[in-house]
Symmetry: C2
Subunit: 307 residues, 2 copies
């Protein structure tokens, strides 16, 4: 046995091997995968097509859940731009290792070359860096966090909360989608977007308007060749990765949609699966960590089961 | 100005734009890049060729610093295997999104197909999950960490320390190189290796023998197409990414080496640059984070300056 597989590091993907057990041993604890597989239908929620973007790349579809509860004006503007086909034929023009990919109009700042915005697009929006904690159900993790007083989940998004300030925000975990801006806090409108592809750059938290999260297809974004210029830009336009289209799922014919379900972060299955990862004890892991980082918590996605 | 560049999120790559300053304003704090650029020669150390691996891929060279202070027996075995050309012509056979790439002999467990180990390779090693804190200079970060009592740097590697247990270990940050194993703690010999390519999987800390860190060329590993099978394995052998060779730098003719210098983690420049990132205040960042995660601390690398 030469090949170390880190087998059980991946409880979601592969069940722990069933070993003959001594009758004296206590029963094995359930793995995260076993817990999720056994979750009742009520623990899952359907991804809402009216709140979902399909980013069509030559290699396939990236699926994004939008976060109108955090950035309502940006999300509304993004929907307007998607309906108007703004990103169709534009590119991913930046890929910086261990940080972000960024897409939109690479020539947006060049006079005469910028692609016009679709009718109805707002060209000035307020900064939406945080939201009020009021009215936001917070599925809190017990784990400490160096960046924020409290961390957990709101609307299925990884989030942090500052109860004293009465504010909450989406945290910059892997797969999170944010609106790029210039120095002025209100300089983003959602036309230029970035996705985190590396170690969570939490220093960006509550400094940009975060608009959603990739729920499927991250591998298509994370493997885009890095740009050689500073900050991951490409030298030549032809090096940029083309975007065929970005569409709102509700605008796509039903037969062409990708139905998905997400495990509710307030479900017992989610809580139990997270605990199974926080304190793994199995044939591989001998010392439970006793901790999980917000950005290490898996947010399970599945195709809806056949009816 | 439509394109949000997250400009100063990248102080290492791009200096903050010099804006006309009001004479009443206090002087700008130095950015991490400015601090590093001004570091004296004594703040830098040369990468030791006797302790450096070159992984030659078709797309270029990945440079790895080994960690004999943490896993002396694994590192010695890896040097033996590199000298004997063990990995030459083998592959990266696993690429799992937001987790690891893994390489070695994909057929190592198939009877009759496994590549023989070079003469002198040891086929059984002790687990080297932790080292004693004794004799290990620890450049401690003041920041809290959820996974370990203390975090910082030892031998230029991101590390954690448990003073009560008298143990230290390399943490699974982006770019860290570990020895894959099966369930038995002592089942790794360094033939099958993995590199972290996503959010730090710190739950692996002190559960595997960590043998070093990629110091240059991570983008060549992080962009390898993900394997479609569970855990990121490929379906067909031809999908695997070929390795031309892995050589010890000291075995490579001097003219073919890539000289590099790393900023010492005990230098004032490193401490100051980390503080500049912990509490960024500039034209982009308006709220200092007051915190930095161990795995977000940049470990600067440069080509030696011309003499």
């Amino acid at each position: 046995m030469r090949r170390g597989l880190l087998a059980v590091a991946l409880a979601l993907a592969v069940a722990a091997p069933a070993l003959a057990q001594d009758a004296q041993q206590p029963p094995k604890r359930k793995s995260a995968k076993e817990i999720i597989d056994a979750a009742p239908a009520s623990a899952w929620r359907d991804l809402d097509p009216a709140n979902t973007l399909y980013m069509e790349l030559p290699a396939g579809r990236v699926i994004i859940e939008l976060a109108p509860g955090f950035a309502p004006e940006h999300v509304a503007n993004i929907k307007t731009m998607a309906k108007g086909g703004f990103w169709d034929g534009l590119t991913i023009y930046r890929s910086q290792d261990n940080f972000v990919v960024q897409f939109g109009d690479a020539e947006g700042e060049e006079a005469g070359k910028a692609k016009p915005y679709p009718t109805g697009t707002r060209t000035r929006l307020p900064a939406e860096f945080t939201r009020s904690t009021e009215g936001a159900r917070f599925d809190k993790l017990p784990d400490i966090d160096g960046w924020a007083p409290q961390v957990g989940f709101i609307d299925g998004m990884p989030a942090a909360r500052d109860p004293k300030a009465g504010k909450a925000w989406i945290t910059h975990c892997y797969g999170v989608l944010g609106a790029g801006r210039n120095n002025a806090p209100d300089s983003s409108i959602g036309a230029e977007l970035y996705v985190v592809i590396g170690q969570a750059p939490r220093a960006l938290d509550h400094q940009l308007s975060v608009v959603g999260r990739v729920v499927k297809g991250m591998d298509l974004l994370s493997t885009i060749p890095r740009g050689p210029e500073p900050m991951g830009f490409y030298q030549k336009p032809e090096q940029r990765a083309p975007i065929k289209a970005i569409r709102l799922a509700s605008e796509v014919p039903a037969a062409e949609r990708t139905p998905l379900q997400l495990l509710r972060t307030d479900s017992q299955a989610f809580i139990d699966a997270t605990e199974a990862r926080r304190n793994r004890v199995d044939d591989f892991y001998t010392v439970p960590a006793g901790h999980i980082d917000l950005c290490n918590v898996a947010l399970p996605v599945r195709s809806p089961p056949a009816k």
